[in-house]
C-alpha cells in the first residue's frame, strides 16, 4: 500500500507537483494519467525515492521514503521511463547484478530469476547482450529488473512507450498477470493502455490531481450527457434535421460521410437514453433511411480527460 499525502515539488519557482494526495491499495492497478509535463514522472521519482519532495510524505507499506528509505525501497520495483539497462551486459549478468543491488539472498536467487525470466518471457535472450536486444525485449528486461527482489509494489513509468502494437499487447498482458499479486502504478499518456489494465485512475494536470476514480465510475460521473453513434444511408442533411427534431436530442452532427453512408454523433440530454433510441429508430425507418449501425458511445478516457483538464 502506498499513501501519498500532499506531495509538493518545486523546481525553482516552478511547481512541478503541487499537493498531490492519493492512496494505492494492495493488489490494485492504478493508472496515472496526465499530459506531458503534468508531473507524472516527477511524482513517480519521488515515490521511488529518486527525488526528494519539497514537502509532503510518501509512505510505502507504512515506511516513509525519506525516513526509512531502505525499507521503503525494498518494497518497490521501479521501471523508469528510460529503462536503466547496462547495454554492455548480458541479460543474466544484468539481472544478477540487480539481485546483488537489491540484496536478494544467494539461495533464493536462482529460483527467483528463473521465475521472473519465464514470466516476462525473456528465456531465449537470457544470454544475449542487452545492447543487442529489440526495444520490446529491453522493456521486458526493464520490467524483470523491477520484479527482482519480490517487491509488493511495481511502479511502471510509460511501460509501452515506443513499442509496436504486438509488443504493447504482450506487455499489457504481462502487467495484468503481475497485477494479481502486486500493487501496480502505471503512468501513461496512452489512455487505451490505462483503460485496458487499470482498476482506478488518477488524473493529474499541472501538478494537481484532477480526478481519482474507478474507470467505470468516472465514466458514469461524466455521463450527465451521453452520446449515440448512428450510421445510415440517405440524405444526410434531412436526416440530421429529423433526428434533431426528436424530443430529448440536443444535437446531432455528421462525423464521417463515406459515399452514401453517413456517421452521425447524436448528443442526448436527459437521463432516458434508451427511450430516445426507440424514437430515433422509428424516425429513421419512417423516412426509409436504413440504419447501418446504431450504438451508445461510452465516454472514452480521452473525453473524460479533456473534460476534466478543461481542454
Amino acid at each position: 500500500m502506498i499513501e501519498i499525502n500532499n506531495l509538493v515539488k518545486h523546481y525553482g519557482d516552478k511547481k512541478a507537483v503541487n499537493g498531490i494526495s492519493f492512496t494505492v491499495q494492495d493488489d490494485e492497478v492504478l493508472g496515472f494519467l496526465g499530459p506531458n509535463g503534468a508531473g507524472k514522472s516527477t511524482t513517480m521519482n519521488i515515490i521511488t525515492g529518486y527525488l526528494s519532495s519539497t514537502s509532503g510524505t510518501v509512505k510505502v507499506n507504512g515506511h516513509d521514503i525519506l525516513e526509512e528509505p531502505e525499507l521503503a525501497k525494498k518494497d518497490i520495483g521501479y521501471l523508469p521511463e528510460l529503462p536503466p539497462l547496462y547495454l554492455d551486459m548480458t541479460v543474466l549478468e544484468y539481472l544478477n547484478f540487480i539481485c546483488d543491488l537489491k540484496q536478494v539472498k544467494k539461495s533464493e536467487r536462482k529460483e527467483q530469476l528463473a521465475k521472473i525470466i519465464a514470466m516476462v518471457k525473456i528465456v531465449d535472450v537470457a544470454d544475449r547482450l542487452i545492447g543487442n536486444l529489440s526495444k520490446g525485449y529491453k522493456q521486458r528486461v526493464g520490467i524483470a529488473q523491477a520484479l527482482v527482489g519480490n517487491p509488493s509494489i511495481l511502479i511502471l513509468d510509460e511501460p509501452t512507450v515506443g513499442l509496436d502494437p504486438n509488443q504493447i499487447i504482450e506487455i499489457r498482458k504481462l502487467i495484468r498477470t503481475l497485477a494479481k499479486d502486486h500493487s501496480v502504478i502505471i503512468s501513461s499518456h496512452i489512455l487505451s493502455e490505462i483503460q485496458a489494465v487499470c482498476d482506478r485512475v488518477v488524473i493529474i494536470n499541472k501538478g494537481k490531481v484532477a480526478a481519482i476514480d474507478t474507470i467505470t465510475d468516472l465514466s458514469k460521473r461524466l455521463s450527465g450527457t451521453s452520446k449515440l453513434l448512428l450510421s445510415f444511408k440517405g440524405d444526410a442533411k434531412a436526416c440530421v434535421n429529423a433526428v434533431r427534431a426528436v424530443p430529448g436530442v440536443s444535437d446531432c452532427k455528421i462525423r464521417i460521410s463515406d459515399n452514401d453512408i453517413h456517421e452521425a454523433e447524436v448528443t442526448v440530454s436527459g437521463s432516458s437514453a434508451t427511450d430516445i433510441r426507440t424514437s430515433i429508430f422509428f424516425t429513421m425507418s419512417k423516412n426509409n433511411w436504413p440504419i447501418m449501425e446504431f450504438r451508445s458511445l461510452d465516454p472514452t478516457l480521452e473525453e473524460i480527460f479533456l473534460s476534466i483538464t478543461g481542454a
Partner: protein
C-alpha cells in the same frame, strides 16, 4: 558495495578498457625496467617512482566512465531507487578502479622477481615506494571518481581528472611560481623585502604542504612515516565524500 564493485570491476574486462589500461601499463613499466636493466643496475623504487608520472594518463582512462556513463545511460537511477547506500556505490566504484590498478601492478612484481633472479636487490625502499604508489593511486582515483560524477560526458570527466592530477604533479613548480609572484608583487607595493619574502615563502610552503609527492618522497629510501599515508587516505575520503554529496544533490536540487 560489493555489488557495485563486482559489476564495475568485471565491466573493465567486459569492455576493452581494462585490457588496454593494463597493456599500456605493462608497456610503460616494461620500458622503464628494461632501460634500467641494460645499465646493469635495477632499482625497483626508481621504476615505481617513474610510474607515478603515468597516473595522469591511466587514472582518467579507468575512472572517466564510472559515473559519467551511468548518468548518460540513465542507469544511475538504480542506485537511487534500490536499497543501497549511495556512499557504498561510490566506494564500490572506487574499489573497482583501485583493484584494476592492483592488477596492473602485477607487472612490477614480475620485474621484482626478475631482479631477484639476477641477484639484484629489492630493498625496503622498493617496498616503500610500492606502498606509496598504492596510497597515491587511491588519492588520484578518488579525484578521478569525483571528476566522473560531475558530468555525464566521459571526455569532460577525463579532461577534468587529467588537469587535476597534472596540477598536483606540478604543485611544487606552481607553488614557487605563485609564491615568488606574490612576493614580487608585495615588494612592488613597497613592503619590506624580508616581509615580502616571508609571505612568498609561507605561500610556497602552504601550497607545498598539499603536495603528496613531496610528502611521500622519503619512502623510497626506506623511511616510512605514517603522516603522509594518512594525508593521502584522508584526502581520498574527502574526494569520495564530495562525490557522494554531489550524487545525493540530485535528490534535492533543482537539476
Amino acid at each position: 558495495m560489493l555489488a557495485v564493485f563486482k559489476r564495475e570491476f568485471l565491466s573493465y574486462f567486459r569492455s576493452p578498457v581494462g585490457y588496454v589500461a593494463i597493456a599500456l601499463f605493462s608497456f610503460l613499466s616494461g620500458y622503464i625496467f628494461i632501460n634500467n636493466f641494460t645499465t646493469g643496475s635495477v632499482n625497483i623504487a626508481s621504476e615505481v617512482i617513474s610510474l607515478r608520472s603515468f597516473f595522469v594518463v591511466i587514472v582518467p582512462i579507468i575512472t572517466m566512465g564510472l559515473f559519467a556513463e551511468d548518468k548518460k545511460r540513465g542507469t544511475e537511477i538504480l542506485y537511487y531507487t534500490t536499497p543501497i547506500d549511495l556512499f557504498a556505490v561510490v566506494m564500490g566504484k572506487f574499489l573497482a578502479a583501485f583493484a584494476l590498478y592492483g592488477i596492473m601492478f602485477v607487472n612490477v612484481f614480475i620485474h621484482m622477481i626478475v631482479t631477484k633472479a639476477c641477484n639484484g636487490i629489492v630493498d625496503i625502499g622498493a617496498w616503500g615506494s610500492v606502498i606509496v604508489f598504492f596510497f597515491l593511486a587511491a588519492l588520484f582515483i578518488s579525484i578521478g571518481i569525483l571528476a566522473s560524477a560531475i558530468t555525464d560526458s566521459q571526455i569532460i570527466s577525463a579532461i577534468f581528472c587529467f588537469i587535476m592530477i597534472l596540477v598536483i604533479q606540478l604543485l611544487s613548480t606552481i607553488s614557487s611560481l605563485i609564491g615568488s609572484t606574490i612576493g614580487a608583487f608585495l615588494s612592488v607595493l613597497g613592503v619590506k623585502a624580508e616581509t615580502s619574502n616571508a609571505v612568498g615563502e609561507a605561500i610556497i610552503n602552504g601550497i607545498n604542504w598539499l603536495d603528496p609527492f613531496t610528502k611521500t618522497a622519503d619512502f623510497r629510501y626506506g623511511v616510512f612515516s605514517v603522516a603522509p599515508l594518512i594525508f593521502c587516505i584522508s584526502f581520498a575520503i574527502v574526494f569520495l565524500f564530495l562525490t557522494f554529496r554531489i550524487l545525493e544533490k540530485k535528490r534535492w536540487s533543482n537539476g
